[in-house]
Each structure stands twice: as C-alpha cells, then as structure tokens.
C-alpha cells in the first residue's frame, strides 16, 4: 500500500478507519490479502475439519461435509469420552519416558556443548569429538532398529538387572519405558549438543575469562554463569526434544511393541484407536489425535516466550 498519504488518527470510529483503508487499497494490496487468506485457510482447514469431525456422530460424518460443523442432532461428546478413557493410561506411560528423556538429553547436550566450546582444550581434539557427534545427527531411525532390538534383548538385559523393581509389584513390561528413556537420550544428545554449542559460541569470551580470573573453576563457571544464561536455548531444546520423543512411534513399536501392554505409550494405543473390522471410526480417531497432541501444545505454550528468544539468538 502507498505511503504517500499522511497518516492521521482522526475519524475515530473503526468503521471510518476501515473504510479509509479500503479506499486506499490498491489491486496489488488486495491480491496480497486474498493470497494470505487462502494460505491461512489451506493450513487451517485440515485442523478445523479434524476438530469438527471429532464432535460428530457416525451419521453426521456421512451426511455433512468434512469441514462443516455438526448440526444439533449430529453433535456428540461421546467420542472424546471414549478417546480419553482409552488413551489416558498411555498418556501416563508416555510422560513417564518423554519427560526424563527430554530433560536428560537437554542437560547432557548442554554440558557436552560447554566442554566443546568454552574450555581452552586442544582444538584438534575438540574437532574430532564434534565431528562424531554431528555425524550422530544424521543416522536415520530405521537404520538402528535391528541393532537396537538386539542390543536390548541380548546385550543389555535390563529386565534382569531391574528384577528388584518387579518384586515390588510393578509390571515387568515397564522395562520398555526405561529402555525408551535411554534410547531417546542417546539419540537426542547430538542435536542437543549442536544447538547448545551454537548458542555458547555467541557468549562473550571476556565474560568467561573474567569469571575464571575471579577464581571460578570450570565447573563453577558452568554452574553460575553458563547454565543460568542458557534459559532460552533450554526452551528451544526442551520443546524440540519433547515433541520428537512424544510423537515417535518407531522406537516404541520395537521396544514396547504391543498396545495391550500395561506400559504401552499413547502413540501405540492411538495407532489402533478407532479402527476395527467394521471400518474406521473417524470421529474417535480425530478425538484421540487431538487429545494425544495436548501435551506438546502445552509445552509450546509454557516455554513460548523463551522459545522465541532462543530461536532469535
């Protein structure tokens, strides 16, 4: 839009302002808005369709368009009820490994990155370690599935080590949760390290030197200077890792494998939710999907401000 006209704040009514804006609108300006509205709709319609579908009865799904809201007769909360009932135990199991795995991988990544950035260790040693770590980022999940199964079933038989836990009355399927924590931490360390390293590179050298001259040891510099200043990057890493780990199906499939297991994570139960021999229950699947996505949404909202700061850094 043109900037040639003076901007005034007269004509206090919203209608008046809107009309003036419309008067000034050029063809290009209008075109831009049309494209923007179209793009927004393109991204939002699937989500909107999913949401309205989750509130529809079976007949309403057949009779109305996917994105149309259900009529008064076609409205039901029953599917959400079923979804919550079925998925709730999976939610608990998922949190049981997603939270520790996220926190541990972020923390280990932060310390590793600190070691690779701040201390004056030989550059040639640091470069080799860093190269190995970065290579770790590019190993695809599929490539490690078989070794991973073999590792947990033959090399590290955790269920025997943890036998005292099962003696307390906890189902021994929960060994899968422990294995998932360790697997996700191992898989998450490279990317976490890289993200933190980029962040620590931008930290003022003089500030760290100043802390060293003030008498602080390497450990104390991390604890009192670097860690407190890592907040924004922790937000980025926590959100990223939590979403990754929460949504991952592949590792849960090979490690826990059955949805009937008491230790089944939410993604595993969700995969089978609403599909049966009679056909797909779309409403139930949608309700389940939205319910299962709530924790990731909550994490975004919770760390949103720091996330923005961390991404900008």
């Amino acid at each position: 839009m043109s900037d040639s006209e003076p901007r005034t704040d007269g004509g206090a009514t919203t209608i008046g302002r809107l009309r003036r804006n419309l008067d000034r609108m050029t063809v290009e300006g209008a075109g831009l808005y049309v494209v923007l509205v179209f793009a927004a709709a393109f991204y939002l319609v699937p989500i909107e369709s999913g949401l309205v579908t989750s509130f529809k009865t079976g007949t309403a799904i057949i009779q109305t368009a996917p994105f149309a809201p259900p009529g008064p007769s076609g409205l039901t909360f029953e599917k959400w009820q079923t979804a919550i009932d079925t998925l709730l135990r999976g939610m608990g199991n998922s949190l049981l490994y997603a939270v520790p795995a996220t926190v541990i991988s972020a923390f280990v990544g932060s310390i590793t990155a600190y070691g690779l950035t701040i201390p004056t260790w030989k550059k040639s040693y640091k470069a080799v370690v860093l190269m190995l770590i970065i290579a770790g980022i590019f190993i695809p999940y599929q490539a490690v599935l078989v070794p991973l199964t073999q590792f947990w079933s033959q090399w590290a038989q955790l269920d025997q080590v943890l036998s005292f836990v099962w003696a307390l009355g906890i189902d021994d399927d929960y060994v899968g949760i422990v294995e998932l924590v360790i697997t996700h931490v191992a898989y998450g360390i490279p990317i976490c390290t890289l993200l933190f390293r980029t962040y620590y590179k931008t930290m003022s050298d003089e500030m760290i030197e100043s802390a060293r001259l003030d008498g602080a040891t390497l450990r104390r510099v991390y604890r009192r200077i670097v860690l407190p200043l890592s907040g924004p990057m922790f937000a980025v890493v926590l959100i990223y890792q939590f979403t990754q780990i929460w949504n991952d199906l592949l590792f849960t499939l090979v490690i826990v494998s059955t949805e009937s297991s008491p230790a089944a994570p939410v993604v595993l139960i969700l995969a089978g939710l609403g599909s049966s021999l009679e056909g797909q229950d779309f409403a139930l699947r949608m309700a389940g999907a939205f319910f299962a996505a709530l924790p990731t949404l909550a994490v975004y909202i919770f760390f949103g401000e720091e996330f923005a700061e961390g991404v900008a850094a």
Partner: protein, 383 residues
C-alpha cells in the same frame, strides 16, 4: 601489592605453516604500587602481553614473575590478579551486588555478611551504592564501567590489569574517569598495568609508559621523558598531537640538507650524530615559533596552507614553497597561540629553534640527538 617482572617474554601464534610473533622478547619490571601504561597502535601486542600476565594466553618463552614467584604455569585464578575488560564483561544475569561478590565467593572462604560489607564499602567508594540491586542491562555505559572497576577493586588483588577500560566511554566521561582512576590507584596503591591505544591516557595516567610496536618494546620511561627524549622515531611520532614533523635530510658538513631547505647545526649537535649521514630531522609543532622577519638561518619564509583553529591555539600547516602542489609538498605543522591572526595564503616566517630539534638515524630510526628535558623545562619557565 606486588612487583611484576616480565623477562624476555615472547608469544608466537601458529597460523597454518606460518609462525606469527605477537610479542617479541619484551622485558619489563614494574615496581610495587606503580601505574604502568602499555601503549601502542592496534596489533602491537599490548593486549597479548596483558593477557599473558593474566594467564589467559600461554607464554611461548620467557619468565613472568609476581613478587619474585615465577607464575608461567600458575592458573589465572591462582595468580591473585583482577582484570577490567574493554567490554566490561559483567555477568548479565546477576545484580551489581552479585557481580561484585562473585569473585570473593569463588576465591575466598569469607562469610556472606563479610562479603556483603566489603561490596557495600567498595560501592560507596565508587559512588554506585544506589545501583547495587540493579542488573547491568539497566545501567549506562559509565555506570557499567564503574561496576567493572568495583568488581576488580573489591577483591583487593596483588595486581590490576586493565585492557582499554575507558575506550567505550564518550570523551567527557573518559576524561573524568581518567582522573578518577588515577586517584583510586593512588589511594589503593595496587600495582597496575593499563593497556591503551590512546596516547592521551598514556601521557596523563602512567607513572611510566611502555611503548610497543610490532611486538617489540620501543621505550619504557616516564611520560615526559618519552615525550622529550624519545628513544626512536616511532616513539617520537606516536606521542604528541599533532604529531612531530619529520624531514629526511642528509648531513653535509655542519648543515642538514633537505629537499627544500638547509638547516645549519652547531658543533655540539654535530657531535651527537657520529658517522651517520642519512638522517631525519624532527621538530614538535609547539616548538615552532612564528616571527616578524627572517633574521637567522634557523628561520624560514613559508606559506600558510591550512589553519585549524582549536580555540586556545591554532594548528597551521605551512609550505616551504608558495607555488608547490599542496598535496605533495613537504608540510611543516606548527601549533601557535590562538590569538595569532593568520589565514590561508599568508606569508610567514617560521623559526625552528635548534635547542628543540630531534635528529634520528634515517636507517634504524634510532634517536641520535634529542632536546634535553632540562632545556624544555627552562623554556617553560621563561614563558
């Protein structure tokens, strides 16, 4: 408080296959309580020298001792030194009080209330008591500078190291802080090494100044001695604003012959020159006098090219030949009284007094003849 001794300190960096010498065989010894200013153009190795004293850079060869204890391999945190950085390097997430207590908490076993008392005391001394609970980001540049100083002072170290601490301040504040820093250092009596590229800071602040160029120590002496009796042409040109005038001359009997002028010298000066015949004649702008008419071989008829009024004085650029191309002709810069009326194009007579000239070896740059400090002082008395 301590003495500091640098003995043949050398620092080389490896850049690919090339070896770069940043500091070349520098020996300095700094007395207990002395304020030494290390000055030189950027890249001369002054900051590297300071960082080696701090333990932030390794020493390639030579020995560094604090109070006669060799500290080459002692870690920074065990050298009992405090450093003030150009960027202040405050901890952004801590309040001023926490910034200042950090060093005491990390390096001593003092109880919290004792630390608090010391921080408050230092805060009062620096006039930042009311800022103690603020974060560095809420402070102005000058205030941050004070906090950085306070953080160093509160630790009561053996040696203060300062790396261009005033260069991020505006001119007025810098002048104020210069005076205050000197007063503080005098009161505290802590041995201080102060690195700067600013020759005004060097001249005004130091007990002695060490001038570095290309990693080599050029001269270490009191500011006035460096100014009036420079060891070589580099020191002469580095100190003083506007800079000393230099003319390439050749010795011919008892005359110095330049491209556009001849300058007679007496036997006393002649005796200092020895065998050298390729010489550089140096004269400080403020030593040049404008006189009524030419009556002496040390006086020259010249043309005014540019006048820069500074208020109390004028800087005038003079040419020997009125028809010469102003871009390439040899220029004589003179500082004269602010009330003297001269304007561009005027013909004037400039006197280059023989007792104020410096003569350098044209090949090595070494000073062969300097004006003596006594002579310089006498002149001030007469005026």
């Amino acid at each position: 408080m301590a003495t500091l001794e640098l003995d043949s300190i050398t620092k080389t960096f490896q850049d690919g296959d090339e070896e770069i010498v940043a500091v070349d065989d520098v020996s300095l010894s700094i007395d207990d309580g002395e304020f030494l200013v290390v000055v030189g153009p950027s890249g001369c190795g002054k900051s590297t020298t300071l960082r080696m004293v701090a333990g932030l850079e390794t020493i390639t060869s030579g020995t560094l001792s604090i109070d006669n204890r060799v500290v080459n391999h002692v870690k920074s945190q065990d050298r009992d030194i405090a450093m003030v950085f150009q960027s202040y390097a405050l901890y952004p997430h801590m309040s001023v009080r926490q910034n200042m207590s950090f060093g005491l908490e990390e390096s001593t076993d003092l109880p919290d209330d004792e630390i608090n008392r010391m921080v408050s005391e230092t805060g009062e001394m620096l006039g930042i008591s009311d800022l103690l609970d603020r974060k560095p980001s809420d402070l102005s540049g000058g205030q941050q500078q004070r906090v950085a100083l306070g953080r160093a002072i509160v630790r009561d170290p053996e040696v203060f190291l300062m790396d261009e601490p005033l260069s991020n301040l505006d001119a007025k504040l810098r002048a104020e802080m210069r005076t205050e820093l000197q007063r503080l250092q005098n009161d505290l009596g802590v041995t201080t090494v102060y690195v700067t590229h600013d020759q005004t800071e060097a001249m005004t602040m130091g007990d002695r100044i060490a001038i570095l160029d290309g990693g080599e120590l050029q001269q270490i002496a009191s500011p006035l001695k460096c100014y009036h009796e420079p060891a070589n042409q580099f020191v002469a040109s580095f100190l003083g604003e506007p800079s000393m005038n230099f003319f390439d001359v050749a010795l011919d009997g008892d005359r110095l012959v330049g491209d556009v002028f001849e300058y007679p010298i007496d036997d006393e000066v002649r005796a200092d020159l020895g065998e050298a015949t390729d010489l550089v004649l140096g004269i400080r702008p403020e030593a040049i006098k404008l006189v009524e008419s030419k009556s002496d071989a040390h006086e020259f008829e010249m043309t005014v090219d540019v006048v820069e009024p500074m208020g109390d004085e004028n800087t005038v650029y003079l040419h020997f030949d009125p028809d010469a191309d102003p871009e390439s002709a040899e220029t004589l810069v003179a500082t004269i009284d602010g009330f003297t009326r001269v304007s561009e194009g005027d013909s004037v007579v400039a006197r280059i007094p023989q007792d104020a000239i410096h003569i350098f070896d044209g090949l090595t740059g070494e000073a062969l003849h300097n004006r003596s400090m006594e002579d310089a002082a006498d002149q001030v008395d007469l005026a």
